[in-house]
Symmetry: D2
């Protein structure tokens, strides 16, 4: 009798990109928590950082200095296998806080290991988007392109979202119960992310 191999531990970091600091209720925070719960159901562990609660600076380097909170968040990202970007929609587009995070990740283009691989390569990205109405697909497009440009791999069906009917004003956090289609989409994204993260951890990309 042989034992099945023990799967490698997988760690996730959820960056919540709401415009509103804690303790204000946030739908982006809620969907971020839901993604993390699903990742945990697939054996991952992780944590959530609400970006706007920290003094992250505008910029495109790894450390803008002078108390910049990004280096600490970056260290958590580098210690993780899965990065989840959870963002609200404003004007049909990703939030400015989300864009600030993506700009900070741009610095990873210059950070490589001795095989020429960016430190983000081998990591997997998931996107979660909520808004009152309209814009999720485009927000996903902006995020997937920026995350892939900065080294992340994208598992099949990597995005989950909820929006209401056109020009409506209901918040995701006020929709009870969680819409079933969003919940099942979240579950698929999490399953696929953990699967891909495990594969890439066991078999990293070749030297670039």
């Amino acid at each position: 009798m042989t034992d099945a191999p023990i799967p490698a531990p997988v760690r996730a970091l959820v960056l919540v990109c709401t415009l509103k600091p804690s303790p204000t209720d946030s739908s982006a925070q809620l969907v971020g928590e839901q993604v993390l719960a699903q990742l945990e159901d697939n054996g991952a562990t992780g944590e959530i950082v609400r970006v706007v609660d920290h003094d992250v600076r505008f910029g495109v380097t790894t450390d803008e200095g002078d108390g910049d909170a990004w280096p600490d968040i970056r260290a958590r990202m580098l210690a993780s296998d899965i990065l989840v970007v959870a963002t609200p929609i404003w004007l049909g587009q990703p939030s400015s806080v989300c864009k600030m995070v993506l700009e900070r990740l741009d610095a990873e283009l210059g950070e490589t290991d001795d095989q020429g691989r960016m430190l983000t390569q081998g990591k997997v990205a998931v996107v979660a988007v909520v808004g009152n109405e309209d814009g999720a697909h485009h927000v996903v497009a902006e995020c997937l392109q920026a995350l892939n440009d900065t080294g992340f791999s994208i598992p099949s069906l990597a995005a989950t979202y909820w929006v209401g009917e056109a020009m409506q004003a209901t918040d995701y956090r006020d929709v009870e119960p969680t819409p079933e289609k969003t919940a099942s989409t979240t579950a698929v994204a999490a399953t696929n992310a953990v699967h891909l993260a495990r594969l890439l951890k066991a078999a990293p990309y070749p030297p670039q």
Copy 2:
């Protein structure tokens, strides 16, 4: 007693960019008809062309030859003061037929009058977008940018749209009655388009 000045006649062309030829029901056709009705309420006249009913060719010239249907549609566009692009959403993006139309308009960059003005300058564009769910803002963005690049002016609040809740499958043409917010948005877009078209007709842009 003096007479109020008689407003200049304003003509509109609605290009419906559904993937489906007539006589299949089309939500994009419906919203195009609704925009035209509102333009008529503001004193304009106009017509609707369902692009896929005609043999428009892929290309970026004014006439791709060999029976290309674009030159006839282009003549109608050039005879109009307002161009309405009515498109469905697929995958959160404008339809391929809509993209084919925008590519044909790209040829206008090379067609100028003796003042260096493109033949489209002085014309006004409106965008109408419908889909089962999500994507309207981004479709508007793609269309407004392409239409402005090719010479059109954009009146305030130039877009109208409807989409359902995330991951739903209801068609706009099956929503009864027409959603009030979409209807009032359509009315504003039409009012503003006719106003701007009249201004630009009376006072064209200077030589470029």
Copy 3:
């Protein structure tokens, strides 16, 4: 002998959306200055605000309180006829500072006069974009859609831009002399913006 009518004064506000505070050199600032110079050549007056030099807060209201610098910038915008958004490109997308500005403009949807018109209606928008490489058209699309959503009218050929060849690293401010095509595009955008601003000032949109 009759006098020609004296054209109405036209005022412009240029919002520079670089990530870097003064006095760091900024290509977005440079293109913003060039647009303003061309607007002045067409008889406008105006000023430039480098947004990141001020304590503008993330949010979607007209005043986020507690020292928020947006209300002062907003007052300048409301006193202007032309709004120029000048932004760098990061990852092929508008800067986070640009997105922050657009989110603040979202508040204008709730601010209307006694005719139901947003206070931005009648104002004209221009977009100026610079980057090392690639992304200008999409940045223009994002900005035009958001600015039109929030009430602004878009003159024909309202955008100017410069980017280098793919994957190059030259900054616009280091290109000598100013690329001729960008300069002529800037001139056209400015001419058309002043023309449209004058028309809309003399003949405002009807009640909405």
Copy 4:
């Protein structure tokens, strides 16, 4: 002495989305050939289909009937492990032919195996984009989002591109020699695509 495991065969399909039928020269065809050559260097085999040479119909089903050429192309896609979408840029956006292809892939949302997995899951996508100037990042965004929506996984750094300086008119096929940065980016995308395709072939996603 033990033998190294023989890697699984990997097959690629390149869909070239130029607007122009053969035998017209096409920069999109050229970059598609270059991606395929790099995939072959990594041990894959494959073929190129120039979509506009075939009678592919507008639509969102797997077979629009009446001589539709998509079912044959789809069969080739289903027999492949890697799908490369090679497209020109028009107006800063993907070509209409590219959009037509993505719309046809939308049908895959309804085609699942007995584990609830789409037939595209386990396949890997790469995007190659060329244009005279500007637009590559956004085209990549549109394609990655649509391809991920329809089941494909995205390897790290999955896109390659070339564009000239702003408002220039040189075609990629006339740039001699191939720009080095584009060539090395193509090589990385191909290496990563074959690596990921092998991983997913050996270890498919779990039931969905």
